[in-house]
Point group: C2
Chain length 420, copies 2
């Protein structure tokens, strides 16, 4: 390995001659003195030099003496440098990566993602995203969940029908999975508590700031619940663990983006769907984006919480595997979690009796045959269970305040974009 | 949550009246007394009962008094039980899940995966798989790697051409990604050290015991290496971390399968490709399965190691992005890691200079255009770097001695199988 000190640790080496390595983040050649700012994965370091210096995005290795400097990032700089260029770029970057504010519009950024993401403000959401996933897994591991990997190629476009990508599977038609829903429920029969972090695919024909054709879904499912509130309690733990991990693992990304991390109440406030309707003077069977925003603001005002559960969505608006509320049959044991004005998570208790599945499919006029594999799990005995799915990019966007979900993933896929 | 004690903790509650919940693993009704064995995610517990009892795979909740019994698993059993059935199966399982040896052939197991995987011996490889991935991430997190999520839908079938699945992407042709190779290299420019655990897709037209159409790839890539040996050193750490995690997190799966976990030498023995040729009296430009087996046995014999690196594969047999050995230009800085007779990992140092990529593509008669997005990373300055990819299912198969890779994943996809 190239023997080097990371820039974040430079101050610990004051007075020593050390080597750093990274990219030339900025070159400033003045009359009497010149500066290089070198960027590595931990931060920036200033080098004081003379003469002609390599330009931005040259990959360099710099050996110099660590010297105190109140002007430099981290309070130290490298002086008397020997600079070696490890790789020369073939062209200057499409925009200056050293500007404190990104001097480019989103299409330019996305077209040049391989270099644009080197900008500290553009890579920061990806750091927050990685830290969030680590916290999700950490929490569920602690709670006895087992990680699973399920098929992304499926035989039928069952779960929601529309918006699936077709694929040529050895000459047979197949589809990209829109969610691991059926598989994670099935695996409750094996491990009781399972999670999966993986890609899901939606052939979303609308070009919006909220939708991607591929996104990362954080899925969990657990058995032996008494009802949907047990699922909500686990979700509360997962979200708290994600935020704690972001605080611990992505502190510099949080601070450079100026992200305010929400507190998670010990119990997230929850209102029933009918109550939400009443409060927003609506009789529609679903909540509009405007209602979601209003309810979110209400939760902040009344409960000091940026999170709000809405429970008991009408059965007619939930998928066939949703468990009805035994006390109010037209309503479900399904819930949404709203966060900062938007639905972040959908979840609920599922049906668990084989005959209930047969009845639910029949009532919706759906054939049983495409669900054969899935229904096996219930035919052979399944406990009361439920789960939830959280879209990673949507989470990161709400957390960082990104105006467009495309800023929260390295190489977004949408109606128009298939590269880089 | 259903308030219960896990069966593995039952012995701690001797003398108390407690509730357990799970599946009826086995029912034995004798003349004077009957037994239920209840299975939950932590193990088995015996219940002593009377009269008619629910049959296998009923989901039950049992309240009883914990009593010492030298005959029972864990040394205790539940007596004076009250049994509540939470869900009744619609049919008996296709084979007895309580038999110590699985009484079914692979096709039956795969067709009935939702219930078959409940057999402790069939779920064990999945526990080892989950523990392995946790150890992989844990190790790379500790070494300063960042987790990434890359596109599984790509614009061109570049990396190896053949064996790709075509997809209809909003009316345009696209392909399922065969590996995150290009993206993980690109992200070295952003985070220096990255990893991804995710699905990859190969339209493998051969029906073998070693190939799947979808598998989980454990990918890592790191910058600022002095050469491929730095990559090999990180891989050694990752493999050691995976095994340590399996030992810690999947102890009962390891013991029920009788898996012998290999030791990882502080330095895994490595031989050059030309040496491997000489030792096996071959002049072929690649190693055959028989040669790989012979070399593995040699490493056990000579070095007491079940792992063996073969380095310096001929350039002609490696992909265009492979870095040549500066001292022996016809040979590469690429390596394979053999484990128990089979290639487990492929890796190496990559080219990092933009002009080297242009030359490499030209020499292979390949157009530059389909690689535009990828080449951006190098155009804007990339450090010397390298990485590796490890197939999770192949790893689990070698570790557990599974004869068929389909035994190491819950719902395999292959030439013939698209469900469940």
């Amino acid at each position: 390995m190239i023997s080097r000190v990371m820039t974040a640790e430079l101050a610990e080496h004051a007075g020593q001659r050390v080597t750093i390595a990274g990219w030339v983040h900025r070159r400033r050649q003045l009359k009497s003195v010149s500066f290089l700012v070198v960027r590595d994965r931990t931060g920036l370091a200033q080098v004081v030099a003379e003469g002609d210096l390599p330009g931005e995005e040259n990959v360099v290795q710099v050996t110099g003496t660590v010297t105190a400097s109140s002007q430099a990032p981290g309070g130290v700089e490298l002086v008397k440098p020997e600079i070696e260029v490890l790789a020369e770029p073939g062209a200057p970057p499409p925009f200056d990566l050293y500007r404190p504010v990104v001097p480019a519009a989103l299409p330019t950024i996305l077209d040049h993602a391989p270099v644009a993401l080197r900008h500290p403000l553009l890579r920061a959401p990806l750091e927050i995203s990685a830290a969030s996933v680590a916290g999700f897994r950490e929490t569920l591991d602690r709670l006895g969940f087992t990680e699973i990997h399920t098929p992304k190629i499926v035989a039928s476009a069952t779960e929601s029908g529309a918006n699936v990508f077709g694929i040529d599977y050895f000459g047979r038609p197949a589809y990209l999975a829109q969610s691991p829903q059926f598989y994670k429920q099935t695996m409750v029969g094996v491990f009781e508590r399972v999670y999966e972090v993986g890609p899901v695919f939606r052939a979303e024909p609308h070009d919006t700031v909220r939708h991607l054709a591929q996104y990362t879904s954080l899925d969990a499912e657990l058995g032996f619940v008494a009802g949907h509130r047990d699922v909500m309690a686990v979700l509360r733990e997962a979200v708290a663990g994600m935020l704690e991990s972001v605080r611990r693992r992505a502190a510099s990304a949080v601070s450079s983006l100026g992200v305010s991390l929400p507190a998670v109440p010990a119990e997230i406030p929850a209102i029933h769907f009918t109550e939400a309707q009443r409060m927003t003077s609506s009789d529609e069977p679903d909540l509009s984006p405007a209602q979601e925003r209003w309810l979110s603001e209400w939760a902040v005002r009344e409960h000091g919480s940026e999170f709000l559960f809405v429970t008991g969505y009408p059965m007619a608006k939930r998928p066939f595997y949703t468990h009805p509320d035994p006390a109010r049959p037209g309503y479900s044991n399904g819930f949404d979690l709203l966060f900062r004005g938007l639905e972040l998570v959908t979840g609920g208790q599922r049906l668990h009796r084989h005959e209930d599945y047969l009845t639910a499919l029949e009532e919706r006029g759906e054939p049983v045959e495409p669900y054969e594999g899935y229904l096996q799990a219930f035919r052979y005995g399944m406990p009361p269970h439920g789960g939830f799915a959280l879209g990673l990019e949507r989470w990161t966007a709400r957390l960082t305040g990104a105006a467009n979900i495309r800023q929260t993933t390295a190489f977004p896929r949408d109606l128009h974009r298939l590269s880089p």
